[in-house]
Amino acid sequence: MSIDGAPALALADITCRFASRDERSHAYIAVANASLTIGRGEFVSVVGPTGCGKSTLLNVAAGLLEPSSGTVEVFGERLMAADGVNRRAGYMFQADALMPWRTGIGNVVAGLEFRGVPSAQAVAQGEEWLRRVGLAGFGDRYPHQMSGGMRKRLALAQTLILSPDILLMDEPFSALDVQTRQLMENELLALWAEDRKSVLFITHDLEEAIALSDRVVVLSAGPGTRPIGDFKVDLPRPRDVSEIRMTPAFLDLHREIWGVMKEEVLKAYARQKVA
């Protein structure tokens, strides 16, 4: 199905223009001529100031949003909007996207259900995934009966149970407190280490990006966002996200990338203040 050696995900020359509501002439260009490649088994983080169009880029990769121009290739195959979403990708959203009317287990097996997996088999697999994300015994709870961290684990299980080749994550842990967040980051790394999916991880937190990734891509401030820096993170794995933050290699990288990012953050801030 896939072309040999092609990268897991290749965004080429992507531009996203949004028509503004009131005036037709003032289209908002969220992303301009952005190219990004994710190798197989590579964990890539994309960082950038707030409101720079990170999520837009991710939605394009997911096939949820059709770019105004440019192409998306998934394992060498062109992703066409007419064919629907990116079938080989799993998407973890920033906001809660669990079905509130389904129990924990019901949410986890939703994807299997959509694919027509027999219910008994789906539930068995679902229980296994609940255990893996540390929610064993919580399958009969509804999302509103769970804490924010538990809901994130549930969302992670919901996505990973389908074993997607590409994992798209949109600031998945941004709503969590620092401690829970570091726990979740470690768990994500452990799960990822089992079968090394290709990951595109969006965040505004540079530390999180470096701690998790093989590569960190810095985006410019919007509008017209595009990658302006690409840094390889060759810190040893397995990593502990709370410990690795203290190592000199980490701090050097952080300083180097922040040097590029800082200017963009200030630009974005200045623009927000004007608006």
């Binding site: 939605n59 949820l64 979403v85 990116n86 079938r87 959203f93 079905m99 509130p100 009317w101 959509f114």
Partner: protein, 265 residues
Amino acid sequence: MRLRILQLLVLGLLVVAWYVLTAPGLIPPFYFEQDNRAAFFFGEPQKVFWVIVEWFATGEIFIHLAVTLLETALGFAIGSALGLGIGLWLALSPTASAVMDPYIKGFNSMPRVVLAPIFAVWFGLGIWSKVALGVTLVFFVVFFNVYQGVREVSPNLIANARMLGASPRQLLRSIYLPSAMSWVFASLHNAVGLAFVGAVVGEYLGSARGVGYLILQAEGTFDINTVFAGILVLTAFALLLDAAVGSVERRLMTWQPRTSETEKV
């Protein structure tokens, strides 16, 4: 418990006041010229009570109650089904929604009780004209709630389901329908109440059976005690229906952190 006692006390006071003010010769007449006029216009509680007892003792009331409840149930079921179907359709199809918008608004603004005589002509004096009236009342409550429910589904939820591989059909079943249903349940009390109103008003305007018919008959002979008896039986059953809906709602909506309320129609 104390609350219950106070509530019963209020009921007792009302009945006593009713009795004292209407019993002929108990207190000197202060508004009507004659002693028995108050009883003629307002009935007497003990007589009302005996009418109700007799209805249930002879079983005369059961056929009428059954008819009224059947009309309520049918009006509710058909109105809800139509509201759900058309609500889903219009909410998911922006063009159809835009085209139908003025008509929906028009029908909703129309005082639909005036349709009752027309329904009597179309569907006869049997149960179906009452069901039709109930349907027109229930439909809009359910329709607007479903429409709202589908429109308010979080885009995240839809995107997530799509990424999990849901087809449009599965999206409808697993996302839109449950979301709409939660709004429908929020309006269930209203809908059942309106179906009941439709049935009784329909009967009142022309019928051969039903509690509304009993009231109409009694009114024709100035039997005010029977009219009040009918009203009390209707009220009791409306309360029972409401309680039944409440228990169904609690069972079906366990996933909701709190019951959401919609505005009264």
